[in-house]
C-alpha cells in the first residue's frame, strides 16, 4: 500500500463510526430535536457490549445488550422531555453526565477496575475481500478494512436507507417539517419521536461497539469526543445522508492527515481537534444556523 492508499483507508476507518453516530443524530434532528447525548450513548453502548460480550462470551448477546442499553438511555431522555416536560436538550446533556458517572461505578463492580479491560478475541480482524482488494487504489482503500468496518458501512447504509427510503424515515422527516401533516394522516407524532430517539441510541451503540472492537478492549472514555464531532457532522451535512457522508469523510481525512503529519511537522492534536468546531462555529455564526430568525427586526 502506498501512502495515499494508507491515508485514504485510515480516513475511511476513522470516518465510519462517526458517520453512524451522526446518522443516529440525524434521526432525531430530522424529527426536530438535536440529540446532544450522542457522546454518552456511544460510551454506554460500548460499555454494555463489553460487559455482556465478556460476561456471556456471546457476540450476539453483547450487541443486543449494547443496543438495548443505548436505546433505553435515549428513551429516558425522550420520556423526560415528553412525559415530564423537561427541556429535551438538557435531558440529553443529563444522559451524557449520567453515563460518565454510572459507567465508572459499574466498571468498578463488574470488571473490578475503572481502567482498560482487554476483551480477548474481540479484536475485529482485517478482512480482504477476495479479488476486490486487488483493484488499484480502491481495493486497498475500501476492501482491506477491518471486519467491523464492513459491518459499520452496512449499518450506515441501512440507516441512510431507513432515513430516506422507508415509511419510518418519511414520517420522521414529515414530523420535523410539519407535525400537523402526521396528525392529519392519522399518525401519532409522539410515537414517531420516541422511535427516533430509540433509533438514534441504537446507531450510537453500534458505533460504540465498533470502537471497542477495533482495539479489542474496553477503554474508559472510549468515544473521546467522537459523539460531539458526529453532532457537528449532522449539522454540516445539512440533514442529507450524502452530506453527512461527505462531512464524516472530511473529518476522517483531517484526522488521518494529522496522524500522518506528526512524522513531518508536529501539529498539536488539540489544534486539529479544534478545527471542526471552529469551522462549524464559523458556519453557525454566519447565520447558517438561522433556525429562529426573530430578533433581527424592530
Amino acid at each position: 500500500m502506498n501512502p495515499m492508499e494508507t491515508l485514504a483507508a485510515e480516513a475511511l476507518a476513522i470516518a465510519l463510526p462517526i458517520l453512524l453516530a451522526a446518522l443516529g443524530g440525524l434521526f432525531t434532528e430530522a424529527a426536530g430535536i438535536l440529540n446532544v447525548a450522542l457522546e454518552g450513548l456511544i460510551v454506554a453502548g460500548a460499555f454494555a457490549f463489553a460487559v455482556a460480550a465478556e460476561g456471556t462470551g456471546s457476540l450476539v448477546l453483547g450487541v443486543a445488550a449494547a443496543l438495548a442499553c443505548s436505546a433505553a438511555l435515549a428513551l429516558l431522555a425522550a420520556a423526560a422531555a415528553d412525559r415530564l416536560s423537561a427541556n429535551p436538550f438538557v435531558a440529553a446533556l443529563a444522559v451524557n453526565l449520567l453515563v460518565a458517572g454510572a459507567v465508572g461505578l459499574a466498571s468498578e463492580h463488574v470488571f473490578g477496575t475503572k481502567g482498560v479491560v482487554p476483551l480477548d478475541g474481540l479484536l475485529s480482524p482485517r478482512v480482504e475481500l477476495g479479488f476486490l482488494s486487488g483493484i488499484p487504489f480502491l481495493g486497498p482503500v475500501l476492501f482491506r478494512q477491518r471486519g467491523i468496518s464492513y459491518l459499520l458501512a452496512a449499518a450506515c447504509a441501512i440507516a441512510a436507507v431507513a432515513y430516506s427510503a422507508t415509511p419510518f424515515g418519511l414520517r420522521l422527516r414529515a414530523l420535523g417539517m410539519k407535525e400537523g401533516s402526521l396528525r392529519i394522516a392519522g399518525v401519532d407524532p409522539r410515537a414517531v419521536r420516541y422511535w427516533a430517539y430509540a433509533a438514534s441510541g441504537a446507531a450510537c451503540a453500534l458505533a460504540g461497539i465498533a470502537l471497542a472492537r477495533s482495539i479489542g478492549a474496553w477503554v474508559p472514555n472510549i468515544a473521546s469526543g467522537r459523539g460531539w464531532i458526529a453532532l457537528v457532522v449532522v449539522y454540516l451535512g445539512r440533514k442529507r445522508p450524502a452530506g453527512l457522508l461527505a462531512a464524516a469523510l472530511g473529518f476522517g481525512l483531517l484526522f488521518a492527515l494529522s496522524n500522518a503529519a506528526q512524522s513531518v511537522l508536529s501539529v498539536p492534536p488539540e489544534l486539529v481537534l479544534a478545527l471542526p468546531y471552529a469551522a462549524t462555529a464559523a458556519a453557525a455564526l454566519s447565520g447558517g444556523a438561522r433556525t429562529r430568525g426573530r430578533t433581527d427586526r424592530g
Binding site: 475503572k114 482487554p118 480482524p125
Partner: protein, 350 residues
C-alpha cells in the same frame, strides 16, 4: 407564601441541624507540629488504581507498611485523571483530619504537597516517582528512569535489528505517548534513545503524541502509521490509550516493549519485555520507616535505580523466553552492566 423565602428558611434549618450534629472544631493544624508516629495513612492516587500497575504497587506497598503498625487508619483515595482537581482533593484529604501521612506517586505531586503543607503544617508526605529536596514536610524518591528507559531501549534496539518474524530491515523504533511531560522528556525518552543507540547508533526513534490518556482508537491509528513507516517495536506511554498500541501491534505482527509493570499478559506474543519498577518494595520500606518514627527522611530527595534493585526487568514472560538465546544473552549482559554502573546515568536535578 413566598416560595423563595420559604426555601431560604428551610436551607437555614437544615444547615443548623447539620451543624448541631457536627463535631466541634478539632482541626489537624491545632495538633503538635511533629507527631511521634502517624495515626492515619492515606494513599492519594492521582488517577485510578485498578489497571495502573504503578498505582497498584503504590497502594499495596503502603497497605502492607500500614498493616505492620496496628491501629493505623489506612485509606486509598482515587483522585481521577484531571490534574486540575488534584490540589483540591489533596487538600480535602488533609482537611478531613483523619490522616497525617499522605503517600502518593507522580512527579507533579510534590509541588501540590508543598502547597497543602503550607496550610496544614502537621501533614507529612511521601512521594514516590518524584523529586523535591528541601521541604521539611515532604520526602521524595525519584526512580532513575533514564535507566528504565535504557533497559527497554536496549531491548527494543536488539529487536529492531534482529531477524524476528515481525522485525523488518528498517532500523526504527517508536514511542506513542499521551502527551509530553518533564519526566518523559528529560528521563524516559533520552534513556530509551540511549538504549537504542547502545545497540546500534543507526537506529532512529519516531515519537507520536495521542493528545490524551484515553483515546485508544487514535493511538491504534498512530501505531498503524508508525508501522507503515517501518517501525517494528514500540514503547507506549499513554495510559488507557496504550491499549491501542498493543492491539495495533498485535494485529500487524510487530512488537511492543512495556514500561508499566509486568504486562506480558496484556498482549501475549506482542510485548517482548517489561521494564519494572519495584514501587511496592520502595513504598513499603520507606513508609515503614516513616511509620516507625524515622523523621530524618523528611526534607530528603533520593534517587534510586538499577543498582539498588528498584529498577529492573521482568524475565518471566513466555514471549521474552521465546526470544533467540543469543539476543537474550546480549540483553542480559547489558542489564548486568547497567546494575554495575555501566553506563552510568546521573540525575542532578529534575
Amino acid at each position: 407564601m413566598n416560595p423563595v423565602r420559604r426555601s431560604w428558611i428551610a436551607a437555614a434549618a437544615v444547615l443548623a441541624l447539620f451543624a448541631s450534629c457536627a463535631k466541634g472544631p478539632d482541626d489537624s493544624s491545632s495538633r503538635p507540629a511533629v507527631p511521634a508516629a502517624f495515626k492515619g495513612v492515606a494513599v492519594f492516587v492521582p488517577g485510578v488504581v485498578s489497571g495502573s500497575p504503578i498505582y497498584e504497587m503504590l497502594a499495596a506497598g503502603a497497605r502492607r507498611a500500614a498493616e505492620s503498625v496496628p491501629g493505623t487508619t489506612f485509606r486509598v483515595v482515587e483522585a481521577g485523571f484531571n490534574q486540575a482537581e488534584w490540589l483540591d482533593k489533596l487538600a480535602a484529604l488533609a482537611a478531613s483530619g483523619e490522616f497525617d501521612l499522605i503517600v502518593t506517586s507522580n512527579p507533579a505531586l510534590p509541588e501540590l504537597c508543598a502547597k497543602v503543607a503550607e496550610s496544614y503544617p502537621a501533614m507529612r508526605f511521601f512521594v514516590a516517582d518524584a523529586y523535591l529536596p528541601g521541604n521539611p514536610a515532604i520526602h521524595t524518591v525519584l526512580y532513575n528512569q533514564l535507566e528504565q528507559g535504557y533497559i527497554v531501549g536496549y531491548l527494543a534496539g536488539l529487536i529492531t535489528t534482529s531477524g524476528l518474524p515481525g522485525a523488518n530491515r528498517a532500523k526504527k523504533a517508536g514511542m506513542v505517548i499521551a502527551q509530553t511531560y518533564p519526566t518523559l522528556d528529560k528521563l524516559i525518552r533520552p534513556g530509551f534513545e540511549a538504549g537504542l543507540k547502545a545497540v546500534d547508533p543507526g537506529i532512529s526513534l519516531e515519537v507520536r503524541v495521542v493528545g490524551n490518556w484515553y483515546d485508544a482508537n487514535r493511538s491504534a491509528e498512530l501505531t498503524s502509521s508508525l508501522i507503515d513507516g517501518g517501525v517494528d517495536v514500540i514503547l507506549p506511554i499513554a495510559g488507557g490509550a496504550g491499549q491501542g498500541v498493543l492491539s495495533a501491534s498485535k494485529e500487524r505482527g510487530t512488537y511492543a516493549v512495556w514500561f508499566e509493570g509486568k504486562g506480558y499478559g496484556l498482549a501475549p506474543g506482542t510485548i517482548l519485555g517489561c521494564a519494572v519498577l519495584d514501587q511496592e518494595r520502595l513504598v513499603r520500606e520507606r513508609v515503614g520507616a516513616l511509620l516507625s518514627g524515622d523523621k530524618s527522611l523528611f526534607g530528603k530527595a533520593d534517587v534510586v535505580g538499577a543498582s539498588e534493585g528498584y529498577i529492573g526487568f521482568d524475565p518471566e514472560g513466555d514471549a521474552y523466553k521465546a526470544l533467540p538465546s543469543e539476543l537474550r544473552s546480549r540483553f542480559e549482559k547489558a542489564l548486568t552492566d547497567l546494575r554495575t554502573g555501566s553506563p552510568a546515568f546521573r540525575i542532578d536535578s529534575l
